[in-house]
């Protein structure tokens, strides 16, 4: 069985984002780029599954749409344990563009299970995984919090509004993962880092595809009013303020 993990390259989650160029571009100075947290967890889960030989996983590939600048992130995924990588050499214009580029490559070289994150921490789209499945004409299971394999069949837990469902699927399918899929991301070992240097990153030129959306400009959130402090000796004053000033309770 072959697994594909789609990874996106995002600013570290603690980054204070700033924009330049009349709010049209992200100011990249000082930004630390990381594997999108969900993708790091789905890679971890994939590796856990591969560790159990009974699951019969031969290969774990990571795929990324991005320019050469994101190779350190791809190398990190290889250091964590992916076997090889695909980089589609294009600016990830929008989700439709990214998903269709990935689909083009996967159509020629199919995978049994494709894992995507529930959202990228930069664009917050929650769309690439579902689009990819539709391009490929295969099922998708979203909000997946657990994935197990048994005799080539997959058992997943997905979150629904106000509960959980256990579902089973035959491959191929796309799983769109969220909290629970793995506890902590795997950390690259020294040996992993050494080995990653010689693992292949297969660079593929993009297909001609037009994005459907575009960001005209960014906006910063409206600053919130300064915090009003209530005397800790008299907490009931807080309730009075919430009732009479904020009129919220």
């Amino acid at each position: 069985m072959k697994l594909l993990i789609c990874i996106s390259n995002v600013p570290d989650t603690t980054t204070k984002v700033k924009f330049t160029d009349g709010l049209k571009k992200l100011d990249e100075t000082g930004i630390q780029w990381v594997i999108n947290p969900w993708d790091e967890l789905s890679l971890t889960r994939a590796l856990d599954l591969k560790d159990d030989v009974a699951n019969g996983i031969d290969r774990i590939t990571v795929a990324h749409v991005g320019l050469v600048g994101s190779e350190p992130t791809i190398r990190k995924a290889l250091a964590i344990g992916a076997d090889d990588a695909i980089r589609i050499n294009a600016v990830p214009e929008d989700a439709y563009f990214v998903a269709s580029q990935l689909a083009e490559v996967i159509k020629n070289d199919p995978y049994d299970i494709i894992l995507c994150g529930i959202e990228s921490s930069d664009f917050n789209g929650s769309t690439v995984g579902g689009m990819l499945a539709e391009f490929l004409g295969i099922p998708s299971v979203s909000a997946v919090s657990s994935l197990k394999l048994e005799n080539g069949e997959a058992f997943l837990t997905r979150e629904i509004d106000g509960g959980k469902e256990s579902v089973s699927m035959t491959v191929p399918f796309v799983a769109i993962v969220q909290k629970g899929i793995a506890k902590e991301p795997r950390i690259p070992s020294m040996r992993g880092i050494m080995m990653a240097r010689s693992k292949p990153i297969n660079v593929i030129e993009p297909a001609a595809i037009e994005p459907l959306t575009g960001i005209l400009q960014y906006e910063m959130p409206k600053p919130r009013a300064a915090c009003k402090f209530v005397d800790p000796e008299n907490p009931s004053e807080l309730i009075t303020l919430l009732q009479n000033e904020a009129k919220i309770i």
């Binding site: 769309t127 299971v141 979203s142 509004d161 106000g162 509960g163 994005p211 005209l216």
Partner: protein, 323 residues
């Protein structure tokens, strides 16, 4: 031309989220000088469909095939895409919840329609079509233009007010031809959280972090939630420790919520936590550390020990509730 909204039901009933979607779709239709249509799939209780008319839709299409009881992303996509084409909808509005997130992207590819997800306002303009969406987990927003003739919007919960515009909506029940084999998802088991207010639906949320010190200290926090008709939540370390159930974890990697009022007891206010709650209308923080980052996002704060302050707040709320 028209605006279509897909309305999900929960055990045959709609909820506030549904009426937010319908209100939103009706407003977008008004901006476009056209009408809004709601599509309901599956069985609903008598009288439910009629409620949708109160929020401005002119027509309700109802499909109730047995095969469509299970939410199968591919099957639902086929049904919705068919209706979009039939009524020539140019805008499709879905909820930005698990269901909407599962269907919108598939629909996008099927209809060659761009998606604006997690939208929290009416479109900024219709021509060009521009929506306002959250990016960088709430640390910024983007004006996103959707260039395709059909556009898909997923609306963030609790971000749009209900607008009552009573009118008589017509209900049309249609049969849909479901191909055998179309439904590929096999559901083995369902566990529903019952009786409690869902965290994502709650208008008031009471949350605790590591500063609560021990799972044994949650009593007054739960009591406060009960008194205010709210839901309980927690920070990630609290759910990781098993102090509270995982469903309560809010933040970037947990639930993203937008209640009217969010209480943070003993929560430092790390960026990743705030990412899940920054859309709350009011944030109240109780923390012993006056420099805790949570006070930068809170509107009201108390510098003090949550363990001592919580019981007093419970008292104060009980008092106003008894009046």
């Amino acid at each position: 031309m028209s605006v279509l909204t897909f309305v999900e039901n929960w055990d045959g009933k709609f909820k506030k989220l549904t009426f937010e979607l319908v209100s939103y779709a009706a407003k977008v239709a008004e901006m476009m000088n056209t009408t809004a249509v709601a599509l309901s799939i599956g069985k609903v209780e008598p009288g439910e469909l009629e409620k949708l008319g109160n929020y401005g839709v002119k027509k309700i299409i109802h499909i109730q095939n047995e095969e469509l009881i299970i939410l199968d992303n591919q099957a639902y996509t086929s049904v919705i895409a068919d209706v979009v084409t039939n009524i020539e909808a140019t805008v499709v509005v879905l909820a930005n919840n698990n269901t909407g997130k599962a269907i919108a992207p598939r629909l996008s590819v099927r209809l060659h329609a761009g998606v604006g997800s997690g939208v929290s306002k009416l479109p900024l303009s219709i021509d060009p079509f521009v929506v306002y969406k959250k990016v960088y987990s709430g640390r910024a927003f983007a004006d996103l233009t959707i260039k395709s003739p059909v556009r898909i919007i997923t609306l963030a919960q609790n971000s749009f007010e209900l607008i009552e515009t009573p009118n008589e909506a017509s209900v049309e029940t249609i049969a849909f031809q479901v191909d055998p084999g179309m439904v590929r998802t096999v559901v083995k088991d369902v566990q529903k959280q019952s009786g409690k207010i869902l965290l994502t639906d709650a208008e008031i949320v009471i949350s605790g972090g590591r500063g609560m010190k021990s799972p044994d200290n949650w009593g007054p926090l739960v009591e406060l939630a009960d008194l205010l008709g709210g839901a309980t939540a927690c920070s990630r370390p609290v759910s990781d420790e098993g102090w509270r159930p995982h469903e309560e974890h809010t933040g970037q990697t947990g639930k993203i919520i937008a209640p009217n009022l969010y209480f943070a007891f003993g929560i430092s206010g790390a960026t990743q936590h705030i990412a899940g709650v920054s859309a709350s209308k009011y944030i109240v923080a109780v923390n012993t550390d006056k420099d805790a980052p949570v006070f930068e996002t809170a509107q009201y704060g108390i510098i003090g020990d949550a363990g001592k302050i919580l019981p007093k707040l419970v008292e104060a709320v009980r008092e106003i509730k008894s009046k």
